[in-house]
Symmetry: C2
Subunit: 338 residues, 2 copies
């Protein structure tokens, strides 16, 4: 039973904590918070030992009636590995300032720069390259979404070139200080966007160009893919391949799943914790091949799709499982992933 | 001075009425309305004679204190050409049921089906093919937007293939019964969308595939273009060509025009009537050529970009001007188009 800690119990951290707790070969020793907010209170209510990142603030947690077990440094001493879910840019500082000095293995999130962590991870793309490593970054939600469907397609028939236009949610549902409210924002306004190179940190030889924008929605990202194929296959071949791929769901607009809102409603009806959709949803009707080029549309739940990848990364880095498909299967079963 | 009437004084109709009125070679004889709403009242206040489509409703206009000049049929008798701006599908019925029987020339909007009208129109693509014709359809706002930039690029260096992902506004600013409010909607959920074939109704030989979706915004559509070029040019060549193309504006995100909302703010500051942006706005920073493929992002003001095309279509169909560039120049000057 490996000991895991979560540094930063926020949007991703709280989900990874629950996903780790659901496994039978690892456990959460504790989680960290900076402020005595509702998430800190609920961490304790959910049974997690709470450690604080800023020791001077202990009294504010006491005043709020939130039980503190110790400081973040005390937590880190007890771990086999830490999953760093701190805000963008903080993870890289923690690596240099803390984890490396302690000799503690650490997993980072997609907000960190690949170059600063040195190694990126996706369960389906490069699990084997991360086995036993000390530091790795789980690629962002968008990149994870691209890898999830491009990997099996590449395995099936090879990919010459990918073009993808990524229509991203402006903010997460709880974020009230971000926009846009009523605009479409090229983000970045330059082409190609950074997402293509980010995919290449785990699918090393893929020829991919991406464009990205932000729109006024909070639910999910949506991707529009155009994939030139190496060898000839049918749409049915692609459907069959995606159907047998873990963490990918073919969903039918014809059954009322006409939008990202429909996908989220589906996740609610599945009884998922926090209404999470860990799988990438592909609109079945959108799959089409014209002149050797595959077209499809998919949706990505930005708050949760990377969560099972974090669990797999723990197994790879702690050498608990050297077969990616076995880790994926184990993670999925424990989390109830379809 | 040619006599023009507007059948359907709504979003497009009221703008075409003002654009025709601004020209020195044509005039508005009258406009039609079905209901005594604020647009009917303002038509009269703006000096247009109002004709009613449903004669039985005359008393309701009287009760509302809105002056009626006559019936729609009476208006049509006085015209050299009618611009039909009625809701989607009504135009084709009017063509068969009314205009053809009267022998009245008519222009339709992009909501009508190409096959039912028989001929489509874009000022830059096929003006010459519409000269003297009785019926033509100005292609939709999205198709007009694609033609505006693809035509000059095709002229400059030839186009092998176009891929476009079109992120469309969910509703116009005044429409309160349409969505989505918080979702991304593949629309259609099948690929390719109908926009590619629609472009081919005016750019006959263009190889183009399109994907389309709806997002929760009311201001403008946004297009993401990937254009494989026939011959080698530089980004500066493309910029120069687009800069000299009428009804296309290169706008800089770096100058604060970071979104469709920025473009609309710019139109306001230009002092445009109804804040219209008749030009297609291309984000200058998005222009890039990688491996012989041109990438760019553009924004389309769905309420107004087709308006100058309607004016040019009048000149072509009434054989008032056989040189497209002269009509475009004349229309633009009268409308204050950049």
């Amino acid at each position: 039973m490996k000991s895991v800690g979560i540094n930063g119990y926020g949007t991703i951290g709280k989900r990874v904590a629950d996903a780790v707790s659901a496994q039978d070969d690892m456990k959460i020793v504790g989680v960290t918070k900076r402020s005595p907010d509702f998430e800190a209170r609920m961490a304790v209510e959910n049974g997690y030992d709470l450690y604080i990142s800023v020791p001077e603030r202990e009294s504010s947690f006491e005043e709020a009636g939130i039980k503190v077990t110790g400081t973040a440094d005390e937590l880190l001493e007890k771990l086999d590995i830490v999953v760093d879910c701190t805000p963008e840019g903080i993870g890289a500082k923690n690596k240099e300032g803390t984890y490396e000095k302690m000799g503690l293995k650490a997993i980072f999130q997609g907000g960190e720069k690949h170059d600063q962590i040195g190694l990126s991870f996706n369960s389906f793309s490069n699990y084997n390259d991360v086995i036993g490593k000390d530091y790795a970054r789980v690629v962002s939600c968008n990149t994870t979404g691209l890898c999830r469907t491009l990997n099996p397609i590449n395995d099936l028939c090879g990919i010459k070139k990918v073009r993808a236009v990524m229509v991203r949610r402006g903010a997460d549902p709880g974020q009230v200080k971000k926009g846009p409210i009523n605009a479409i924002v090229p983000n970045p306004p330059t082409v190609p966007s950074h997402h293509g190179p980010d995919v290449q940190t785990v699918m090393y030889d893929l020829n991919i160009t991406t464009m990205a924008l932000l729109v006024p929605t909070t639910l999910m990202h949506q991707h529009n893919l155009m994939v030139e194929l190496e060898s000839s296959v049918s749409v049915d071949d692609i459907k069959e391949k995606l159907n047998e791929t873990p963490r990918v769901l073919l969903l039918k607009a014809g059954e009322g799943l006409t939008s990202t809102a429909g996908f989220m409603e589906y996740a609610k009806d599945l009884g998922r914790s926090r209404n999470d959709l860990f799988e990438i949803g592909v609109w079945e009707e959108s799959l089409n091949i014209v002149d050797g080029e595959l077209y499809y549309m998919q949706a990505i739940h930005q708050e949760s799709d990377v969560v099972p990848e974090n669990v797999d990364a723990i197994r790879a880095m702690l050498e608990m499982e050297n077969d990616p498909s076995k880790s994926i299967q184990k993670t999925n079963k424990a989390m109830g992933i379809l």
